[in-house]
């Protein structure tokens, strides 16, 4: 696929949800507004979880000796990173409400392979932002992106091999990325047309700053529990707090 920078602009207004693709005939639209840095607002919060937490599944890495060299910490699947009622690895983004702005492309993000797992497990990118993929393991990995809107690809990386650089040119949420050499290695890439996204940390916390004042729909996406949305309004220099509550009933 060609590098279509114009898409970046189009999709700013498209309120990009997973299954919305702009029609091919869509004409790029010039940004009509500029963000005034002296008025920007912040939204932050904690994503909580109630109910029984599914038991973390142990991972058996014995099929590749290079994965179990040295000390092996207890190894569990990361699908439910829930700690004291707080959910990590939830992708938070502005789903709706942004005006038509242009943004500088953020500096490259990094995806590392360490101890035969992906760090981080959930990652956010802006359209066009570089993703640098590193291999810090003595193991051979392959990185297989199963994107639908973006191009899929599959490349292998030798131990200590050169960084692989990738960009994603269309907004798309929860793109599964997998290693077929170590089938427990799975992570998710989220691509947005603006830089207003975050991933909750180990305490379930996130912060999105630099937002122009306005009323927004926030999306909170979890790999197993799907999406929840919340509406917020922030004035100039204000700080809004919002966090949804997932529960065991959301598990699909």
């Amino acid at each position: 696929m060609k590098f279509r920078f114009g898409l970046l602009l189009i999709l700013l207004v498209a309120g990009c949800s997973k299954n919305e693709t702009p029609p091919a005939s869509y004409k790029p639209e010039a940004p009509t507004a500029k963000i005034d840095p002296s008025t920007t607002a912040t939204v932050s919060g904690v994503v909580t979880y109630t109910g029984d937490v599914p038991k973390a599944q142990p991972i058996d890495m014995s099929q590749d000796p290079a994965c179990v060299l040295g000390k092996v910490p207890p190894n569990f699947g990361e699908a439910y990173a829930i700690n004291k009622g707080r959910a990590a690895n939830v992708y938070v983004y502005i789903k709706d409400g942004l005006g038509n702005y242009s943004y500088p492309t953020p500096p490259p993000a990094t995806l590392d392979q360490k101890g035969c797992r992906y760090v981080p497990h959930v990652l956010g990118l802006m359209v066009g932002q570089k993703l640098r993929i590193l291999n810090s393991d003595p193991a051979m990995h392959n990185i297989h992106s199963m994107a639908h809107e973006n191009d899929g690809w599959n490349e292998s990386q030798y131990p200590g091999g050169d960084a692989i650089e990738k960009t994603f040119n269309k907004p798309e949420l929860m793109i599964p990325v997998q290693c077929n050499n170590h089938p427990w290695m799975k992570m998710y890439v989220n691509v947005l047309s603006n830089p207003f996204f975050a991933v909750t940390d180990a305490e379930g916390k996130y912060t999105i700053s630099g937002l122009p004042p306005g009323t927004y729909t926030l999306g909170f996406v979890h790999e197993k529990m799907g999406e929840k949305t919340l509406k917020i309004t922030v004035g100039a220099k204000e700080h809004a707090v919002a966090g949804p509550a997932f529960s065991s009933a959301d598990i699909k």
């Binding site: 599914p54 599944q57 099929q63 290079a66 051979m140 690809w153 490349e155 292998s156 050499n181 170590h182």
Partner: protein, 314 residues
């Protein structure tokens, strides 16, 4: 089939070679199923090279072990098939066998290209399903080659008496139906396994296939029990069917019910799904065998000579 018009010679070395190819192909099917069940189809990202090399063996760990092992075994089977095709041209009296030899070579080449396509296109379900179906077709043909090259087949060519095959649905057609039914299951099963189809058609298909296979094998045993090859194939089909149904249930439980959220392929899931693929291949081969034997040993009454008729009545 015109086997009776040509004088074929039993060649023990050739027969053993066809059997060896059939066994290697069976192991290759198991190896291929291990690739799928271990989610290792893309562990080696390039083709026809592996990590850029045509001959260097990569570290055989993790998914690479399955994917590259499968490729090496496939190359070996490809080599055996070339030898078989050439050997068949030089030594085989039956012209249809010589054609079959070339056809097997063509099929193994197509299969290799499909294998390459699964890698190049990153496993679209229809390519993986085609690869699974051609694999079992090729395996069934290696089994048939072994049967055609056997002492019993060649030795019985002159003494063969054909038996009448009466009824609105002849046993010949019933035997063909078993082949179709197992192909249907292969398509639905592989389509589901590779994420292209819903599970539903495969379960409904299992019911239909079970009825056809039970019907055919019972009439094979009860009506044509005196014809050894038909009786043998019928009993085998019945036994394999029971095992296959149990394995299918096991595959469903380990993969779909318990394995839905598994962080990695579990040994129990790998074992049941691989066994289900392998027994499916044996079942298909035996249905082919039943059909071939039905066509060889039976004939519509109109085609039979009076002598044949008497032989049966007597």
């Amino acid at each position: 089939m015109s086997s009776s018009t040509q004088t074929a010679q039993y060649n023990p070395a050739y027969h053993r070679f066809t059997l060896f190819l059939a066994i290697c192909t069976f192991l290759l099917i198991v190896a291929g199923a291990l690739v799928t069940s271990n989610d290792a189809g893309l562990a080696v990202p390039d083709w026809p090279t592996s990590f850029g090399s045509l001959y260097r063996i990569p570290p055989m760990v993790g998914g690479i072990k399955y994917e590259h092992g499968h490729r090496m075994l496939a190359e070996f089977v490809g080599l055996l098939t070339i030898i078989l095709a050439v050997w068949t041209q030089r030594k085989e009296a039956r012209s249809w066998m010589r054609k079959l030899g070339w056809f097997m070579l063509l099929l193994v080449i197509i299969q290799g290209l499909l294998g390459g396509l699964t890698v190049k296109m990153r496993l679209p379900w229809y390519v993986s399903t085609a690869h699974a179906m051609v694999a079992q077709t090729f395996f069934s043909l290696t089994i048939l080659m072994t049967v055609f090259a056997s002492r019993r087949w060649i030795g019985s060519t002159v003494t063969l008496t054909r038996h009448p095959d009466p009824g609105a649905l002849s046993f010949r057609n019933l035997a063909l139906l078993t082949v179709l039914a197992v192909y249907m299951q292969l398509f639905f099963g592989a389509g589901f396994r590779h994420g292209g189809l819903h599970f539903f058609p495969h379960v409904v298909g299992a019911g239909i296939a079970t009825v056809i296979l039970v019907w055919a094998s019972f009439s094979g045993i009860l009506r044509f029990g005196n014809i050894k090859p038909i009786r043998g194939a019928s009993i085998a089909i019945l036994g394999l069917l029971v095992i296959q149904l149990l394995l299918g249930f096991g595959a469903y439980m380990t993969r779909v019910v318990w394995g839905k959220d598994a962080v990695q392929p579990r040994p129990s899931m790998v074992a049941t799904t691989v066994a289900h693929v392998a027994v499916g291949a044996l079942l298909l081969a035996h249905c082919f065998m039943l059909a071939v034997q039905a066509y060889r040993n039976l004939a519509p009454a109109a085609e039979l000579s009076p002598a044949d008729q008497k032989a049966v009545v007597a």
